[in-house]
């Protein structure tokens, strides 16, 4: 898988089509995001499957937003899995990244990762490496939904009570880009104090992810308290689909997310 990607990136860099390729590199024994600008660095390029598939994924689109803003006329390649492609489509649609500045280089995820992610589309439309795995439905959501309402509520309150308010779920999220975050608005919550207001802090974030969350699972992985945030946001995405007939990132790249949420129109 790595070799096919390296060849593709080498070709893109040599042709001058891209100024750099944002991918992952293993250096000093660790894997992290890296902007390859010179074919000689490509030796260390990896796709983020270190000890097990997808264990060293990063929110590359978040870094890409900074890079394309820092160089508004440059075109960059970026490593994408299915979820990253969904992210790109949504970010193009909301004007956060210009599609003409990006050349995605796609990889499909192996079946065990698709299973662990409960991924509806574990591959990007266009891919350079990997075989498309079978999609999986949201078993974790179904499990919670099988519980009684008050039992469910108790479960979430107990989960949220573990929060150390690190803001990691927001910071890592490739779809969180607002310049003013509601979670830091003092009219809304007590920002400098612990514990996080339960469940206001978490439900605020959950509601703000409606129409944005592309189900990459990075928030769940970053949470030091192991709160199953992804399950919550999967449910939010289900509700958005039921109500608005769209799921962020699953449409064609040309169509914006299709959501144009204005408070007054949301009368249900």
């Amino acid at each position: 898988m790595d070799d096919k990607i390296k060849m593709k990136v080498q070709e893109l860099l040599q042709s001058g089509k891209i100024k750099g390729f944002l991918g992952l590199r293993e250096r000093h024994g660790q894997v992290g995001p890296y902007l390859f600008t010179d074919g000689d660095d490509l030796e260390g390029l990896v796709v983020g499957d270190r000890f097990k598939p997808g264990d060293s994924r990063y929110p590359l689109n978040k870094q890409l937003m900074k890079i394309t803003r820092g160089d508004p006329s440059g075109c960059y390649g970026v490593l994408v899995r299915g979820c990253d492609e969904r992210g790109l489509k949504t970010l193009f649609g909301s004007g956060q990244i210009k599609s003409e500045q990006v050349v995605p280089v796609g990889i499909a995820c192996p079946q065990d990762l698709a299973d662990a992610c409960e991924c509806l589309k574990p591959y990007p439309d266009e891919r350079v490496a990997g075989e498309a795995a079978e999609p999986r439905s949201f078993a974790t959501v179904a499990k919670v939904e099988a519980m009684e309402l008050d039992e469910r509520f108790r479960l979430w309150l107990a989960e949220f009570s573990k929060c150390i308010k690190c803001y990691g779920c927001r910071n890592i999220c490739p779809m969180c880009y607002c310049s003013e975050c509601t979670l830091e608005n003092k009219d809304f919550g007590d920002i400098g104090s612990l514990p996080a207001e339960n469940p206001v802090f978490h439900l605020t974030r959950a509601i703000h992810m409606a129409g944005r969350c592309i189900d990459c699972g990075l928030c769940n992985e970053v949470c030091p308290a192991d709160i199953p945030l992804r399950t919550l946001y999967k449910k939010i995405a289900d509700i958005v689909e039921e109500e608005f007939h769209c799921r962020p990132g699953y449409g064609s790249p040309e169509t914006p997310p299709g959501l144009n949420i204005r408070g007054e129109e949301l009368k249900h």
Partner: protein, 135 residues
């Protein structure tokens, strides 16, 4: 435009979480927790997440300050050290070694922490050594 990620260790506490600093045209623009680091496995606390901010903060102290006529005034290192040494000696002579305490820091190296406890015990003669986490 130049964009780099630099692998480093969080300086806030003794855990030593691994993180990448994002550097754009020579300025720090973000922190990314390192997922493969066995210490933090891709997680950080709220302080670690904001490491990139304090490095370039205009509020950061860059010179020694001495309170003169109630005002914190920038002075040279020599003046600051001479003043501190003279006052520590006066206090020790007037009230004894145990009237002085030393607070070590998670933000400095192991060797620097060793030096401060050595200074406390050997030079000043007190076991009053504590840690910044209990300040």
């Amino acid at each position: 435009m130049e964009y780099r990620t630099v692998l480093t260790t969080c300086t806030y506490c003794g855990c030593g979480c691994g993180l990448y600093l994002e550097v754009m045209d020579g300025r720090l623009v973000g922190t990314i927790p390192c997922k493969t680091n066995p210490v933090n496995e891709g997680k950080l606390c709220v302080k670690g997440w904001n490491v990139h901010e304090f490095v370039q903060s205009p509020k950061r102290l860059t010179r020694p300050l001495l309170r003169k006529n109630r005002e914190l005034t920038p002075v040279s290192w020599d003046e600051a050290l001479d003043f501190t040494a003279a006052r520590l000696r006066e206090i020790k002579e007037a009230h004894g070694s145990d009237s002085i305490a030393f607070l070590a820091s998670a933000k400095v190296t192991n060797e620097e922490n060793y030096l401060i406890q050595k200074f406390a015990r050997a030079a000043v003669g007190t076991n009053n050594v504590d840690h910044c986490a209990r300040l």
